[in-house]
Amino acid sequence: MKPHFIEIGSYQLPKAGQNAAGDVFMSRKIQETDRIISVLSDGLGSGIKAGVLATLTGTLATGCIAANMSINKTAKLIMRSLPVCSERKISYATFTIVDVDKGQDVRIIEYDNPPYLLIRQGCEVEPVKTEIQVAKGKKIGSHPKPAILRGSSFKPQLGDRILFFSDGVSQAGMGTKVLPIGWGYNGVKDYALNLVRQNPDISARELAHAVVIRAAYHDLGIPKDDITCGVVYFREARRLLIVSGPPIHPEDDQELASKFKSFPGKKIICGGTTANIIARELKKTIRVSLKVRDLTIPPPAFMESADLITEGIVTLGKVVEYLEQDAKIEQLPENSATMILKHLLDSDIIEFLVGTKINEAHQDPTMPVELEIRRNVIKRLKVLLEENLLKQVSVQFI
């Protein structure tokens, strides 16, 4: 078991009038060496050209570190590789690279982005930063000054958040009456610290989103530059249990119910018969909600000690469909499938407990064989959750 779960979230608004951002935020998880790398890079200027510079930087950084190159070497390589801007004769993309090794060692290297903010227990912590001088690769005209990179490292603690952003955030509002010199690092810091104090469980994505929206607000709703923010959050893993299908042997009903009851995390039952079994064993009452009525999906139900109850196959099939379409949850209709999806998105470790008893009702020749469908739907779900959403998923058949 890893000491912490690492959640990464980001949000971005491109400069008004540009449909491509010149800032890039990228993350990569390397299973084999248990590393997570996040890069925020801001290419010179804005638009496509800046975006290419930033993407190149991000890809190089994640690629090199993934190949086990040290973060310092990587930074040097990037400085040497960036192409030169034909207009301004300088090669330039700023970056912040966050490398989390086995969840226990954080190394950060920064080049010309606003400094990152480390939030620990609602306060700012300032790690010691060392300067690294790197000669810039391309020499145009006179010798350029060496670039100064800042490196720092620390051991993350449970609850730590690393917040890093492009200068579109810290310079937001510049030139306005309220913030003539812009929001500033301290402004961003105070805002973020306040948010975390008010909402100690705020997710990485929510925090990044809030910072970016606030910056856009300082820009009077018209971003003057790309506004990008990333957050790396070390927290306890959120677990979700989904039970679907009755056990083969009715003797196992009780075990299923007690497993369900004692599970440390959120709990969903997909399937009426399964729900009835658990309700009977735990002596609880199931209430079907008739308020949520998307007529294509059976309505959800609720019961004490369960976070959600839904019908089985139709609903899970819909969840698979939503995931395959990469649907935005905010734009989906309110129904049981969306409710499951929301739980899936909010969880890190997802466990499926799948009963393999054949449902007599569905053996009607006009109905497809349910057991097979259930297995396939859950297999598909597992793949989608692992590959598209980087969740940790396990499936157990009972």
Binding site: G271, G272, T273, A275, N276, I286, V288, S289, L290, R293, L295, T296, P298, P299, A301, I309, E311, G312, I313, V314, N359, E360, A361, H362, D364, M367, E370
Partner: protein, 88 residues
């Protein structure tokens, strides 16, 4: 107690065989009968597993079982039940 309780099965078998349409009746019945009719949903009522010949979707009007229920048959059963409780 002169209320009629309607229980609509929302289990898989019932739902895919037409139960969704029954749920569509909930608002209509509430508008028509007000507090006299109480509608509830239920996970699989178990009838779909009893015999090959019984037909989903199922609904209960008080204790009376409705097989192969349609919006029309449900409405009729509710009206009958209402007149029963009112007259008796």
């Amino acid at each position: 107690m002169n209320q009629v309780k309607v229980t609509i099965c929302v289990g898989t078998a019932c739902y895919v065989l037409g139960g969704a349409e029954l749920l569509g009746m909930v608002d209509e019945m509430t508008a028509k009968f007000g507090g006299k009719v109480i509608c509830e949903g239920s996970p699989c009522l178990g009838f779909c597993k009893l015999s090959r010949n019984s037909k989903a979707p199922f609904a209960l009007v008080n204790d009376k079982l409705l097989e192969a229920a349609t919006p029309e048959s449900l409405l009729k059963a509710v009206e009958e039940a209402l007149s029963e409780v009112q007259n008796g």
